[in-house]
Amino acid sequence: MMSRFAKRQLINRINMTIAVLMTVFGVFWVVWILWTTLRLGLPAISLHLFTQDTPPPGSEGGGLRNAFVGSLILLGIAVAVGTPIGVLAGTWLGEFAVRHRLGAVVRFLNDILLSAPSIVIGLFAYAILVDPLGHFSAFSGGVALALILIPVVVRTTDEMLRLVPGPLREAAIALGTPYWMVVTRITWKAASTGILTGIILGVARISGETAPLLFTALNNQYFNTDLWHPIANLPVVIFQFAMSPYANWQQMAWAGAFIAVLFILILSIGSRWLLSRHARS
């Protein structure tokens, strides 16, 4: 017969072992997925991946040049549209609405937007841009991505501005500085690293987004830089190629996946490094 104490000890030991196993379980998937992208993606990397456009179905050779360029253009539009809107809205929250009822409502809605399904955002962009204009376009894809980027930037800007010590503002005001100048010259500057980190994290998030681009930027087999026409982009090309039965396409999808993951990892690690350096100084 086991004593009560021994039984409690046993339960504890079993459950703690399970907790350790769960952690190993979680880490296991990260390692498996990253290893797969490395194993299948790295051998498929070659120079013509960057110099040639996507090949037609079933043919050999080709590259992803149009998709890389298209993705960069889409990211560019998203950052150009999303960053000013995100920073200004975040500034209102962090400077004028810290203990504000309306501020709490905006924060609440922004947080929901932050987690809203990206496919729904894509449908929205379709409804407001593609449907009225009558055709798919790079611009609508960029706007869809901007809509996903904005809540990330709003949130980090808000949080970073609230971390700026109040006395810094008071000192500036005491010197007679108008408040808009206090914000643009002092608090934005103090919070700049944090805000930049938010933008980088947001870009890392949207650079892998596929679903909203399916009905906005669509895809394009050819090289295109015209914002009013469909444009090739890495995620949708990966989707199309990975689902296809052609070995050449699948291989290229892995190469694209490897580059996408590498890009995102560099951005995430870079922003972490930026933030930790900022925290130390």
Partner: protein
């Protein structure tokens, strides 16, 4: 003396000499006013985006909702040829795949959070957290590819075992009978679970870490084991936030698109077995949207988007409210 009297007195004493200063001051206050209202307007735009999304989806999905009425929600036919559309198969698919994901992700996230906050040596905490958070950084399309081309073949190899063992259990056995294809509802649920673990685990970890040490230590002093402290002290104390974190994960799972599209199998019918292919709202939109030729077809897909939006909005709003209650509670306790 009230404010206006002070101002009047100030003006009398300052006299004409300060005319230039006051002109500058009024320019400044105009600039301040514009800055404040301008940023406020942009914030307002961000806030009404959600309303705009809702309204645009209602408008675009109206044709389908109007044609089929409430039957859109409860019929299972999805036939572009005869222009008959019902959403039930996809609603069920979304709910079932998310339910499987939650069944796996919640206990695993709890274990991970417990490990990081209570068991891990200090030097391991940072690295383990960072690795788990990497799961959230990997784009969903990569999960999809990996799921279809690597995980599914591997999973197909163990499905006969699931057939033989879980499939033999009376009652729930029928859930686990079917051809070993590797793709299907169960595979989608498992991959979804992996994708939402980082979201749930990081919230659980954060709230476990801020449980007051005095609470934990007093339980330890009474002779409680680590498990008992976790079960009877930490979990009750952080219950609200833990629930909020779980809902946040659920919101993610419900709307996840690309990974599910790759591995759920894309069959437009209901089947009892979890090993059979199915479809979710998000996956059918992703698959069929560019092929939708008739306006009723397209409108039906947009109405599906509206349903998904409403479900996730409710779940995410609940999550946020639960997490807000924690923030408010923190304030009153400190």
């Amino acid at each position: 003396m009230n404010g206006s009297e002070v101002a009047a007195a100030g003006e009398r004493y300052a006299g004409a000499a300060s005319e230039r200063t006051s002109a500058r001051r009024s320019r400044t206050s105009v600039a301040d006013f514009l800055f404040r209202k301008g940023t406020g307007f942009v914030a307002f735009l961000v806030a009404i985006t959600l309303v705009a999304v809702m309204v645009s989806l209602i408008i675009e999905g109206w044709q389908a909702l109007h044609t089929f009425g409430w039957r859109f929600l409860v019929t299972t036919t999805w036939d572009p040829v005869t222009n008959a559309f019902g959403a039930l198969v996809f609603i069920v698919g979304t709910l079932v795949s998310s339910a499987i994901a939650m069944l796996i992700a919640v206990p695993v996230s709890f274990g991970i959070a417990l490990f990081i906050s209570e068991l891990s040596p200090g030097w391991l905490r940072g690295p383990v957290s960072a690795v788990i958070e990497l799961l959230a950084a990997i784009p969903s399309i990569i999960y999809g590819m990996w799921g279809l081309l690597v995980f599914a073949p591997w999973f197909a190899a163990i499905e006969p075992w699931i057939n033989d063992h879980l499939g033999a259990i009376p009652g729930i056995g029928m859930l686990f009978q079917g051809p070993p294809m590797g793709i299907g509802m169960l595979t989608a649920g498992i991959v979804l679970a992996i994708m939402i673990i980082p979201f749930i685990a990081s919230i659980m970890r954060d709230v476990f870490m801020i449980t007051p040490p005095a609470l934990k230590e007093s339980a330890y002093a009474l002779g409680a084991t680590t498990w008992e402290v976790a079960r009877r002290v930490i979990l009750p104390y952080t219950r609200t936030a833990v629930t909020g974190g779980i809902f946040l994960g659920l919101g993610r799972a419900l709307g996840e698109t690309m990974a599910v599209t790759f591995i759920i199998g894309n069959a437009n019918n209901l089947s009892a077995s979890l090993l059979m292919p199915g479809s979710s709202i998000a996956s059918v939109i992703a698959n069929e949207f560019t092929e939708a030729t008739t306006s009723l077809y397209k409108s039906s897909l947009l109405a599906l988007g509206l349903i998904l939006f409403v479900i996730t909005f409710i779940v995410l709003a609940l999550a946020k409210l639960l997490l807000l209650r924690l923030e408010a509670g923190e304030g009153s306790k400190s």
